[in-house]
């Protein structure tokens, strides 16, 4: 059986729920005054609290609470009047206190929903069960330190918002769509930088299968720490395949934590985390209940920025973009800021949208990269479009210019100059081409004059060919019409 869409798993239905961990973009840690900046020397961003010295105590970061409430308001969830921090107890070297401060019974954000667009164009509502605040753990570095593992606690205590979905997704594609939707949202509202390489945004997927029509869920496996959209899709599909094969061979799925190996494209059991997972949750006596007032909720709601769906609507209504273009552009905060810059500089929203959802997106997809890593920045891209608008080059030539720019051959102007792609607007020069084409094709010219309009395309094409695409097509058209008189 090969990976395929959900309706292609034969008699099986796939059930997926996601736990997304979004690192909150605070300056300091959730319970200490150490910096959260990424990439510092190991253990240089740890305070007495982060390394869990004896006697230290946590004090909650105001901004972490603010960001969690912001998320709650953005998904129209219930934001709890009173939420409580609990200790989740387990021993691991990257967990300095021997417990993680998290929220168990009373999370700060209660039920809400997220709409995703399916490939069919339909909208599906995915339930968000809850979102709670917790602290991140440190990192274990498994490179060999004389047979030992190294522990870096810089990340320990970074605030996380864990967003838990209902088991509402029925295919890996739906899971990816949901994850992308949350990814976009947290960036729009400015609570997470969304950087997946640095681990700011990652997810665990709970995957199970059941015979179609069965109400009861199958036994699920938890796929840990997946940090790219592509891997989410692959990991889920490979896990579904494993579970179905297992059951069809008469086996049983066991509830366990599994790790996705992107190199081997397989999931495998994490036995080390399997043992003793009795977390002994209880309210952390070092912290008090977090109380959110209605007034605060209103204040946070009022400060929410324009959300993706609102922005899409505005782009359609105010800028006249198509639903498709507006959807693609607003689906990523980075892409929509790219668009904002290009549209502003060119003064032509429609042209900008066409080029961004067309040529630019095609190149990003081909290379499987993010807009942030695009070889051409918004300013350079705007200049290219401006050269179409001022008739320096045609749209067709512009694609070649973009290719050259993508390869790092310089700005639009430099490429046009060095390759001599500047459009010919000198009427005399174009007229010479027109005359030559007419002279070479007298009978066809007669047909054109006789009213065979289709011939117009032939003549324009010939002139463009002769000018190596540089003649201004509008001028060519105009000159041919003059010759017909």
């Amino acid at each position: 059986m090969s990976s395929a869409a959900s309706n292609e798993w034969g008699q099986w239905e796939v059930v997926i729920g996601l736990e997304i961990h979004a690192q909150l973009a605070t300056r300091s840690k959730i319970f200490s005054g150490a910096s959260t900046a990424y990439g510092a020397e190991p253990n240089t961003q740890t305070s007495v609290v982060d390394i869990a010295l004896p006697g230290v105590l946590p004090v909650l970061n105001k901004e972490a609470v603010h960001m969690a409430v912001k998320f709650g308001m953005a998904i129209k969830a219930e934001v709890a009047d009173r939420s409580v921090f609990d200790r989740k107890n387990y021993f691991y070297p990257d967990l300095p206190k021997g417990y993680q401060i998290s929220q168990f019974d009373l999370p700060i954000v209660g039920p809400g929903t997220i709409d995703i667009e399916l490939e069919s164009g339909e909208t599906k509502t995915i339930g968000v069960t809850r979102a709670h605040l917790e602290e991140d753990a440190g990192k274990s570095l498994h490179e060999d330190y004389a047979g030992m593992t190294g522990i870096d606690l810089n990340r320990a205590g970074t605030p996380l918002l864990e967003i838990v979905s209902e088991p509402d997704m029925r295919s890996a594609k739906e899971a990816v769509a949901y994850m992308k939707k949350i990814h976009t949202l947290v960036q729009y509202i400015g609570i997470c930088d969304g950087n997946m390489q640095e681990g700011s945004f990652r997810c665990d997927a709970n995957v199970s299968v059941r015979p179609k029509g069965q109400e009861e869920y199958g036994t699920r496996a938890e796929l840990k720490n997946i940090n790219s959209f592509r891997f989410v899709e692959r990991a889920i599909n490979i896990e579904v395949e494993r579970q179905i094969d297992l059951i069809e061979d008469g086996g049983e799925v066991v509830q366990e934590t599994r790790l996705y190996d992107s190199v081997k494209n397989e999931t495998r059991s994490m036995r080390s985390k399997e043992e003793a997972n009795d977390y002994r949750y209880f309210p952390d006596p070092d912290l008090l209940p977090v109380v959110i007032t209605e007034e605060y909720r209103q204040q946070v709601r009022a400060e929410l920025p324009e959300l993706p769906e609102q922005k899409q609507k505005r782009f359609m209504e105010e800028l006249g973009l198509s639903a498709y273009d507006a959807g693609v552009i607003t689906a990523s905060l980075a892409l929509s800021s790219y668009f904002d810059t290009v549209a502003e500089k060119t003064g032509d929203a429609k042209l900008s949208a066409n080029w961004i959802t067309g040529e630019l997106s095609a190149r990003l997809n081909r290379e499987e990269i993010d807009i942030a890593d695009a070889a051409v920045d918004a300013g350079a891209f705007a200049l290219l479009l401006s050269r179409i608008k001022d008739n320096t080059i045609s749209g067709k030539i512009a694609k070649d210019v973009l290719d050259a720019m993508w390869k790092g051959e310089g700005s639009a102007d430099e490429v046009i100059e060095s390759k001599g792609l500047k459009q010919i607007t000198d009427t005399g020069a174009i007229e010479a081409f027109v005359d030559e084409v007419i002279a070479n094709n007298p009978s066809q010219f007669e047909e054109l004059k006789g009213g065979k309009d289709k011939m117009m395309g032939f003549f324009v094409g010939q002139v463009m060919k002769m000018s190596k695409g540089k003649a201004n097509p509008a001028q060519v058209n105009e000159l041919i019409r003059q010759k017909m008189k």
Partner: protein
Amino acid sequence: MYHTKSVTELSAMLQAGEVSSVELTRYFLDRIKNSDEKLNSFITVCEEQALAQAKECDERLKAGNAPALTGVPVAHKDIFCTDGVKTSCASKMLDNFISPYDATVVTNMRAAGVVMLGKTNMDEFAMGSSNETSYYGAVKNPWNLKAVPGGSSGGSAAAVAARLAPAATGTDTGGSIRQPAAFCGITGIKPTYGRVSRFGMIAFASSLDQAGPMGQSASDCALLLNAMAGFDEKDSTSIEKAVPDYSADLDKPLDGLRIGLPKEYFAHAEGGMNAEVEAIIKTALDQYKAMGAELVEIELPNSALSVPVYYVVAPAECSTNLSRFDGVRYGYRCEDPKDLNDLYTRSRGEAFGEEVQRRIMVGTYALSSGYYDAYYLKAQQLRQLISDDFKNAYEKVDVIMAPATPETAFNIGEKSDDPISMYLSDIYTIAVNLAGIPAMSIPVGFSDGMPVGMQIIGNHFEEARLLNVAHKYQQQTDWHTTLPEEFK
């Protein structure tokens, strides 16, 4: 000499220039050097640092406007983190731990001008009522070297009783200030939960732990509490409430004071109060009556459950508070761990004493899946009922008086093999921690040559009232100024 002087007197002498802090500090360092072999009350003596601090204090005193406690030498329980000084919590686990930071209590006391003589012995991680669980050996009671000083702040109590230090700090989770104060014949107060910062005080049971002073008298405790107490932004459970001057109302008359006597505490149940202790307490109560107070019988119907509730809540919290001691970042690490699990289990198994391990296991069990509701949740519900009992009582009375302990100090080794009988020695002190209210113990007489302590329990934030009630009694009695023969 200086050791017969109270902190109040020493402070006046320092301010008047009659003695220097260096002189005083050296005097007490010598006393420790000469006598602590008998008591084992100190884990660390900070001779060099203390003299350096004393020198600074003398300069501050000379410059004028130095705070009241400037230059007074004091000992800290070894549960408080002290920057650059070993902080062991009386455990092998932290035998090599030099704290890189100061507890807020230490910072506050330092700012008030106190000189730190050293760190006092205690039960390991404050778990014990006799000071026998210390990795550094048992502390002896200055009144009878065969007897325990009580615990867990046994080193502080013994050091003050023998006047090796004019005063000391302690912590109280289930009676750890009041019970040793009673056993050693000194005065100690456990303030309202949240009154003194817990930052830098190594946690035993976070929702019960509270630091307080242990001294010769209520007036000394008032001076010390002035320096220790206060809101701390580093402790989320610290209360944002102004600290009154605890010395201001010490002399207020007691006319009309309503004293509640819990009938459950005075009932002659098995394991209850020893008859001679009861007689001594009754004499003290009569003296209060003579001072104009009124005695009112009250009920604390759920108080009998304090011990069982405590032995769920405290172990549960301690079981996770002590998870950070894993041999990775500081403290004891076993030799040649063969894998990660070996590192954890051997480091912890080898470095924690038996009582600590026992409590970690009880707590782990009480929190584990399937038992949480029956133990931890049930205990927290009962805690509410115990707390409500006090709330109801304070509608009728101003303070509550009760024995601090059912009997006087027992002998070393007498109860160390029987955890339950040891636990029951805290029967009168534990409810106070569960409710978070303040309470103190003052010496009210001797039974067979051993001190008897009486508890004065107040409503939330009524420390000033308690100190006033204790001070008035101490002005009429000399139990608190009586010294053990060997340490006169």
